[in-house]
Symmetry: C2
Subunit: 238 residues, 2 copies
Amino acid sequence: MKKVDILELKETILENNDADADLLREQLKKQKTFYLNVMSSPGSGKTSVLLKTLEGLKNNYRVGVMEADIDSDVDALKIADAGFPSIQLHTGGMCHLDADMSRQGLRKIGVNIPEDTETETEKSETTEHLDAVILENVGNLVCPAEFDTGAVRNVVILSVPEGDDKPAKYPLIFQKCEVVLVNKIDTLPVFDFDFERLKKDIYALNPNAVILPLSAITGEGVENWCEWLAAEIDKWNK
Amino acid sequence: MKKVDILELKETILENNDADADLLREQLKKQKTFYLNVMSSPGSGKTSVLLKTLEGLKNNYRVGVMEADIDSDVDALKIADAGFPSIQLHTGGMCHLDADMSRQGLRKIGVNIPEDTETETEKSETTEHLDAVILENVGNLVCPAEFDTGAVRNVVILSVPEGDDKPAKYPLIFQKCEVVLVNKIDTLPVFDFDFERLKKDIYALNPNAVILPLSAITGEGVENWCEWLAAEIDKWNK
């Protein structure tokens, strides 16, 4: 296996994370780098979905991945082994990332964000331009929803085995996203999962949500998702 | 469906949660009430496992359930519909419970804890003695591990679809428990899940962990788990 850079994130003490998230989006817009925040429970298949996504985009975009985790670097190694730019972010026990922690990671993976903010971070080690960076947020349906990471778009991955009742139980995260990817649809035959109920519950919380079923194992639905994402990257970076 | 009591928890401002958790255990010991903290990801099947557990214990013990959730009361309703004492705890957006929040819930569900602590809580509405109370903690593998709820024993439920790599990624919660229930083992044929790897990783973090495979759907393994729990209740309440 390859080695990946591990960045130990510094806790942010900014008073206004929302304003800092807006500033980060401005900085990314100037650099023509799209930033996607991927949130889910532990075990929903984030890393597998990301690998399929990177494959689907690689002919047209250079995309890097930041894997956030309490500990370990298993996810970043999987991405690096597949040949994509990848770093591991360690949150030091924290259950979420905010905009400034995002910025520390984005600099480390190679996005050229000027040092006009309060945070000192490690300098980028690469200069090749990234069209998009994907953050695999900490596996958690609660805390990540409460902090704007500065991402341009936010995705929730919900997998079939977790059950169709998650929007009722974790409403905020389904309100704070633009897309819900319903992963592991190849396992629908073995679970009691009501897709229509799920859609109804999501639309009740978030009428504009885009709901896309897919399976990172069989590849079903991956093309639809990559098309949606490519269009968003093009809009942001034009 | 029945109606269940919903308790909006007050945030605790105690400086020393660990000491308060020890105090809560003393209070429970005096009342001969065992307290079990159940932690897991969203969608691991906590509520289904609890229903099987309550069925398995009902002939010998009176057991109540506190369902903690950010929002909604779907889980408490399921338990109440099955005929067991149940209340819903709302954490007001918080991602975990501490000992004092536990105590607020325990009083509400009917455990007679004297008012010698700093918190004012609603009085119990029932006087029938509970041999055990089970807390279904917020679905989250990160934050609940960081706070001692005052429970006598702590259980993590990990379901097969979540993957065998969870101990590597969320080590603290696997260190802070006495039992790991590996749920949904009926789905082993459709997932790439290495049970031996899982056991090795858990034992590396927590050599004394008890690892019990089960399926809340087929009932396999439920008896073993109920036997373990009954023995722990007997030890505590003797």
